[in-house]
């Protein structure tokens, strides 16, 4: 009987370790203020369409204008 309990506890211990490892090394989420978002929108005709929302750019290139005081 004691051996059964040892096996049960060992299995639980292994599961707990796996859960902790999975939680701590989860993939990085994109920075929310810069990531693009995809939203399913239901149109007037009932059809669903995927809307890809533009993410803001990190920088803008243009002909360099002078600094305004």
């Amino acid at each position: 009987m004691q051996r059964v309990w040892v096996v049960v506890l060992s299995v639980w211990a292994v599961l707990a370790i796996v859960a902790v490892l999975a939680w701590s090394s989860r993939p990085a989420a994109p920075a929310p203020q810069l990531a693009s978002q995809q939203v399913l929108v239901k149109g007037a005709n009932g059809k669903q369409r995927l809307v890809v929302l533009k993410a803001p750019a990190h920088a803008t290139t243009s002909t360099s204008a002078a600094v305004r005081p």
Binding site: V41, V52, A57, T61, T63, A65, V67
Partner: protein
């Protein structure tokens, strides 16, 4: 999660920014990287500005005809400018300064006063620039003067980006933007390439395209800004063939290259090129691509600009 550290300041006659992609626990290193970028831009400006009478470039111009001791940044920027002049067969020429000054662009842009354009006496294209790399000496032809404005900014952007990675090698990515001359490397926040918007010169505040760039440089040149002279009829793009504000060329052109200095040299060259000339220029240089925006009609991609795919809004029915 990969946070973004960012700084914005004014230098080199424009608005500058630097950004670093970092990880949790590395925020201090990211701040160090941003400070290093700022310091490097300041160091470049001290050597390369033609508006600072104490800069290395101003001393070189003032002593035209004589050998002058120069700093390592000016030496490198001169080397890049000379290479660009050679590679563009003189279409990019850092010695157009006397023609630019004669046209009226004789002080920092925000201090310009209106006066009629003149022609530079005795100016000729392709004035000689000699650089003794070993001894850090340079000499320009008597009567000539050098302007490293555009390529100097591109060079400074690249140097500043290098400085960020030197002082904080563990940052995951970096971006330096000197008034539209942009250098990037590594990951943007959230992973993937940096997204660079190309401003629409015809509709202020609008974007023409988004470029996705993991490494390299971007620069835009054109005649939509920095106009001056009578009725704002002149612009800062001097055609080395004539010594006057260029007639041919697009409204703007954005060039993408392996580094920001090359991108700036390419943009300056393409900005005074007809569409046919621009197509030929990019075709024979596979490392370059560009977005050529004519005065009217749609923008024209040259080469294969790294447009960000599938980033448009699909309107729901």
């Amino acid at each position: 999660m990969s946070p973004l550290a960012r700084i914005e300041w004014r230098a080199v006659g424009t608005t500058c920014s630097a950004a670093a992609t970092t990880t949790f626990g590395q925020e201090a290193a990211a701040q160090l990287a941003l400070t290093a970028a700022q310091d490097e831009v300041a160091a470049c400006e001290r050597e390369l500005s033609r508006f600072d009478p104490g800069s290395g470039l101003s001393r070189l111009n003032a002593a035209a005809g004589d050998w002058v001791q120069i700093g390592p940044r000016l030496r490198e920027a001169l080397r890049l400018a000379l290479r660009a002049r050679e590679e563009t067969a003189g279409r990019f020429d850092p010695t157009v300064l006397p023609a630019l000054v004669a046209a009226g662009y004789d002080r920092s842009f925000d201090l310009l006063e209106e006066r009629p354009a003149e022609r530079a006496d005795g100016w000729h294209r392709g004035a000689s620039i000699e650089v003794d790399e070993q001894r850090c000496l340079a000499r320009i032809e008597a009567g000539a003067a050098v302007d490293l404005g555009g390529i100097g900014k591109g060079y400074a952007a690249g140097r500043a980006l290098d400085a960020m990675f030197e002082i904080a090698p563990r940052i995951r990515g970096g971006l330096v933007d000197l008034g539209g001359d942009i250098a990037v490397r590594g990951d943007a926040p959230g992973g993937g390439p940096w997204r660079i918007a190309v401003a629409d010169p015809r509709r202020p505040g609008e974007t023409l395209a988004i470029l996705a760039l993991a490494a390299g440089g971007v620069a835009t040149s054109g005649r939509d800004a920095r106009r001056f002279g009578p009725h704002r009829s002149l612009h800062h793009l001097i055609d080395p063939e004539t010594g006057e504000s260029a007639l041919a060329g697009p409204l703007t052109v954005t060039a993408v290259a392996p580094d920001a200095a090359q991108a700036e040299a390419a943009a300056t060259t393409l900005a005074i090129a007809s569409l046919t000339e621009a197509e030929t220029f990019v075709t024979v240089r596979p490392e370059l691509s560009a977005l050529y925006v004519p005065h009217s009609g749609p923008p024209i991609p040259l080469g294969r600009p790294p447009f960000e795919p599938q980033r448009f809004v699909v309107k729901a029915a």
